[in-house]
């Protein structure tokens, strides 16, 4: 489900995500494809979690208002930075239902740059490792 409005709680999460880690890991590519001025929150089911350098990826199956589903690729930082922020390779498993907030792609395609996540147990995770210059 796409939750278009950014809620105050999400704003706090986004701020937390940006405030963590004074020394971000290397996002080694441009973030020009993302619209950093916007955030979109989506609710979906984890299809795949790629714990890889230089970026980790969440593939989230998200249904729109008409029930049509789409795969949302969501880019995170590398495992090094994520580990320091409490992530592990097993944090997300296929079938898990999560709520993710991203900076969306500019082109209007589905997918985006990870900002924060709420796990099924309510635990909140952020990622500030995608902000190095490139």
């Amino acid at each position: 489900m796409i939750l278009s409005a950014m809620k105050p709680k999400t704003l706090v999460l986004a701020a937390m995500a940006l405030a963590v880690a004074a020394f971000p890991a290397a996002a080694h590519h441009s973030t020009a494809m993302f619209d950093a001025s916007k955030t979109v929150t989506v609710e979906g089911t984890v299809k795949q979690f790629l714990w890889t350098n230089p970026h980790s990826w969440i593939y989230l199956t998200v249904a729109d208002a008409n029930g049509q589903t789409a795969e949302w690729p969501i880019e995170l930082g590398g495992p090094g930075g994520l580990l320091r922020q409490g992530w592990t390779a097993k944090t997300l498993t296929p079938g898990m239902k999560v709520k993710a907030t991203v900076h969306p792609l500019r082109e209007g395609k589905v997918g985006g740059q990870f900002v924060s996540l709420i796990l099924p147990d309510g635990k909140q995770l952020g990622d500030s490792s995608t902000d190095a210059p490139q």
Partner: protein, 335 residues
């Protein structure tokens, strides 16, 4: 033994001792001179010459950026033309340098961004500018220096980038970069200095510079070519030929041919706080005239080598279908 024979032996022994002593003095003087002549580009473990990644504000700009760049009216004007607020220009110039080639002190410089489509790297959000893609400025001395075929290559890349395609720099796609293209990468640069060879390690890429030897007559064409080096006072001079034509000289994809000849100069400045890096490029089949640029770096302690020793290719597919360069793959091993 006669007195006269004994004297001869004593004289010979004295002469031998004097000769050996003189040799020892000369050798120690030579060693001292040698060690004094070799600039300490190689840093203690844990330190690197940062190109700016994640650490763009960790060093004062004056500690490593050339004053003629930081205080240039031309650069100030260029920044303002790109919509940079006047009070953010110095920060802009510092962040800009973290992954772009700077103009030389004089003469023709590298291709820069189109003022109508200013390039802001990820770090520019510090000055309130969201990240944009690189579009080469074609109304410049550097662009007019391109041979027609080379200009067409840049125009083609501009068209792709304007359409939101192929917007990543080659190094983000795990390609080898050639020289001077490798100078743009933001990862820390490390040197290993030995009398016969200087090894340059720069974000999983390795270059070998063979010291005090001439170039081969016909070196095989490779991504980084054949580099030979020498010290000129406090400067390491690296001379490179023999590159293949698969790389670009910058992230605007400015091409070159196998005739490219690059000379780089590395010098530690400001008491070890900065690394001044300048270069010249000559390629008569791609450029009308030789040109040059700079790419200063700053000393970054507490940055062990393995912290940046990333795997590039894993998980680096074109997940968003943006027409990116494919990550290079080899179907058969080269051994």
């Amino acid at each position: 033994m006669s007195v006269s024979s004994q004297s001869k032996v004593q004289i010979a022994a004295a002469l031998t001792a004097a000769f050996c002593g003189a040799l020892l003095v000369l050798a120690s003087q030579h060693a001292a001179a040698q060690s004094a002549a070799i600039p300490p580009l190689m840093l203690p473990y844990g330190s690197g010459w940062s190109g700016g990644i994640g650490g763009r504000t960790l060093a004062p700009p004056e500690s490593y950026l050339p004053p003629d760049y930081l205080n240039s009216p031309e650069q100030l004007q260029a920044a303002i033309a790109r919509g940079v607020p006047a009070d953010k220009v110095k920060a802009y110039l510092q962040i800009r340098e973290s992954n772009q080639l700077l103009p030389p002190e004089s003469g023709i410089g590298p291709i820069t961004d189109d003022p109508a489509h200013p390039f802001f790297n990820n770090g520019m959000r510090e000055i309130g500018k969201p990240s944009t893609v690189r579009i080469a400025g074609l109304d410049s001395e550097a662009a007019r220096n391109l041979k027609p075929w080379a200009l067409e290559v840049v125009k083609k890349q501009n068209a792709l980038a304007l359409a939101g395609k192929n917007v990543e720099a080659r190094h983000a796609r795990c390609w080898e970069l050639g020289v001077p293209g490798i100078l743009e990468v933001p990862q820390p640069l490390y040197f290993i200095q030995t009398p016969d060879e200087v090894v340059m390690y720069n974000g999983w890429r390795v270059r070998h510079v063979y010291m005090n030897v001439p170039h081969s007559k016909n070196p095989p064409l490779t991504w980084y070519g054949e580099s030979v080096g020498r010290y000129e006072g406090d400067t390491l001079v690296v001379d490179t030929i023999g590159q293949n034509d698969k790389s670009a000289v910058d992230a605007y994809r400015t091409p070159h041919t196998t005739k490219i000849h690059v000379v780089e100069r590395y010098r530690v400045i400001n008491g070890g706080k900065g690394l001044d890096t300048s270069f010249t490029v000559d390629d008569p089949d791609a450029f009308y005239k030789p040109w040059g640029g700079r790419r200063p770096r700053f000393l970054l302690p507490n940055r062990p080598l393995n912290d940046m020793d990333q795997i590039c290719a894993a998980g680096n597919e074109d997940h968003f279908d943006l027409g990116l360069d494919p990550v290079p793959q080899e179907a058969t091993p080269d051994f």
